[in-house]
């Protein structure tokens, strides 16, 4: 038996007598062994930079997003058994989940809140990466952080699309008309728009074909794709030498050129040739700058994961999920709104209808397709358009990137403002109401 004062020496290199040793390694060597021997730990490095672990730097937003994704998959499992994607039965099964399934209402709330929070977390993560310039390559050789950024943008779009497809499934008025608005915006893309809409809907109207398409996208295709990209995203981080801040740490130390190692180049498809990225050896070995990934990094990852699960579970007890009247193609709710993460789009769609003489350019085209298309393209290409030096990577509000950071913040504020306007200030008939003004009451049947 061993105790903390006298840990047992392994009887041979690589042999560890204590159970669960890989979660509580007692030496640096055991810690290194852990990431090799324990499958669950295999994606961690052996040593992590203290600077990368900082709460203040990244706020662990990426991990929060991943934790939320995990929660979505876990809460989605029972829902898979309980929900039926048929236009005759969908609404009824959601009502059943709300009322007669044990814990059904809570599971559905977990799923819904995790979905909304994930959109927010992913957006915040993107903002953090932009504002710290972490899409830039630093001092390492062979880094390709700009591709990781592109992966991230792709995952953001996937997250939005996942949320959108899930939104339709309850088949209530909210779902039906939100999808009507969304797909109508898509159909305003010139030339291909109507075809895209037809492909999305499986026809010309939102019916059973649409529901089953959105369902399969939501439970198989999009999560699968997101999973693959997530894995690639993680792999790229390791290959790029860790967080951008890690490069910065290395810059502060004495330069010590280390020849690139000609061994073991890992590539996605095994077709690239070259050498492993060169990490300044000093940063990895600096005793005061790094800690063992196991258990320090893993403990923090556990804090973030379990913390997210705990907080979300508690929130879900108090915040119930809405369910409106059954979908009715003949009655449009007033007002009909897109989900909150598309409300800014809906707002600019209504604001950007141009009249030039007798020509009218549809707001759906400008506000719904052109503007967001431009923004997404700009966002995706920005790492190549960024002219700031490598030293600006991994720093919050670096001086060299001040202008682009300000523009980014401005755009973000505008988008948030439009979202808020769309949520609180748009009432029936999309008329503008100040928050203190009362919306007219929608009359009832009896």
């Amino acid at each position: 038996m061993s105790d903390l004062a006298n840990p047992a020496k392994p009887s041979a290199p690589g042999v560890h007598p204590e159970p669960l040793w890989s979660l509580r390694p007692e030496s640096d060597r055991a810690s290194g062994d852990a990431v090799v021997s324990n499958f669950l730990l295999h994606w961690f490095p052996a040593k992590a930079l203290k600077a990368s672990l900082d709460w203040n730097y990244s706020m662990w937003l990426g991990t929060i997003s991943a934790a939320l994704l995990l929660l979505l998959v876990l809460s989605g499992m029972p829902l898979l058994f309980l929900y039926v994607p048929s236009v005759e039965r969908a609404y009824q099964t959601v009502k059943d989940i709300e009322y007669v399934i044990t814990f059904g209402s809570w599971i559905r709330s977990v799923h819904r809140l995790a979905a909304h929070l994930m959109v927010a977390a992913v957006a915040l993560h993107l903002a953090r990466v932009f504002l710290t310039g972490a899409y830039k390559n630093g001092s390492g050789r062979g880094q390709k952080r700009e591709w990781n950024w592109v992966l991230g943008v792709a995952m953001l779009l996937l997250t939005l699309f996942l949320s959108f497809t899930g939104y339709l499934l309850p088949w209530d008025q909210l779902a039906y008309w939100a999808v009507t608005v969304g797909t109508n915006i898509a159909s305003s893309i010139p030339f291909v728009g109507p075809k895209i809409r037809e492909l999305l809907l499986g026809g010309r109207v939102i019916e059973q074909s649409t529901l089953i398409r959105f369902y399969v996208l939501h439970i198989v295709a999009l999560p699968g794709l997101l999973g693959v990209l997530f894995v690639y995203h993680m792999w790229r981080i390791r290959k790029d030498g860790g967080l951008a801040r890690a490069d910065r740490e290395a810059l502060l130390r004495e330069r010590a050129e280390v020849a690139p190692a000609p061994t073991k180049t890992y590539t996605l498809l095994g077709i690239a040739r070259g050498t492993a990225p060169t990490i300044r050896a000093s940063s990895v070995e600096a005793a005061d700058a790094t800690v063992n990934a196991v258990p320090d990094l893993t403990r923090r990852a556990a804090i973030v994961n379990f913390g997210t699960i705990a907080i979300l579970s508690i929130m879900a007890v108090f915040i119930r999920s809405p369910l409106e009247e059954p979908a009715n193609a003949l009655v449009t709710p007033n007002p009909a709104k897109a989900p909150w993460y598309f409300l800014w789009l809906q707002e600019i769609v209504t604001d950007t209808t141009l009249h030039i003489g007798s020509f009218t350019i549809n707001g759906a085209l400008i506000g719904g397709v052109v503007l967001p298309g431009l923004l997404v393209t700009l966002l995706t290409l920005w790492p190549w358009l960024d002219r700031s030096p490598a030293g600006a990577a991994g720093v919050w509000f670096a001086k060299d990137r001040r202008t682009q950071n300000l523009v980014f913040i401005l755009l973000a504020v505008v988008i948030v403002a439009f979202t808020l306007i769309g949520t609180f200030c748009r009432g029936p008939y999309w008329h503008f109401y100040w928050p203190w003004q009362v919306w007219p009451e929608i009359p009832g049947r009896i």
Partner: protein, 166 residues
């Protein structure tokens, strides 16, 4: 084995965490145990005992013969055990009183199936024709709320089953 306070707290915390996560996983599984049934109900209310004459009453919707003898009731299925046709009851020329599975039974009818000619005796026993098994006897009870007879078409009983109505 607990080494010291720190170790105790650690183990307590870990245990609680695992228990809580286990409970959440359990919740997911419990949600799959149905609380309400969408099956067609197998118990059917058949009306008050007073509405049944002495002798035989055929209920076409439930495919059931209900027999009454004073205050004693029993029910025999009219579904032929060969291929499921509804059998016909035919009055016996003479009433036969016999003991079936230890209980006395007054048999006034026999049963014949019009589809392939299976014949059953008054207690449902298959006597000739292609029927492989006797006619089923079903459980009868009195509903506690309004006193109607209730047949449970999912509960077969032996041929000594009698319901005595108070």
């Amino acid at each position: 084995m607990i080494k010291d306070r720190r170790d105790f707290l650690l183990k307590l915390g870990t245990g609680c965490g695992i228990a809580a996560l286990g409970a959440q996983a359990g919740a997911s599984l419990r949600s799959l145990v149905p609380n309400v049934s969408y099956d067609a109900p197998t118990t059917v209310k058949l009306g008050l005992p007073a509405e049944y004459p002495d002798g035989l009453k055929f209920l076409p919707d439930e495919r059931l013969f209900v027999f009454r003898e004073g205050n004693t009731f029993h029910a025999i299925s009219a579904v032929c055990t060969h291929l499921g046709c509804t059998v016909r009851a035919e009055a016996l020329s003479q009433v036969v009183t016999t003991t079936v599975e230890g209980a006395p039974l007054r048999m006034t009818h026999k049963f014949m199936c019009p589809c392939h000619g299976s014949a059953y005796s008054g207690d449902g026993g298959n006597v000739s024709g292609p029927a492989p098994k006797p006619l089923a006897w079903f459980h009868l009870s009195v509903s506690p709320d309004d006193g109607q007879l209730i047949v449970d078409l999912a509960q077969e009983v032996g041929r000594d089953f009698r319901l005595t109505v108070g």
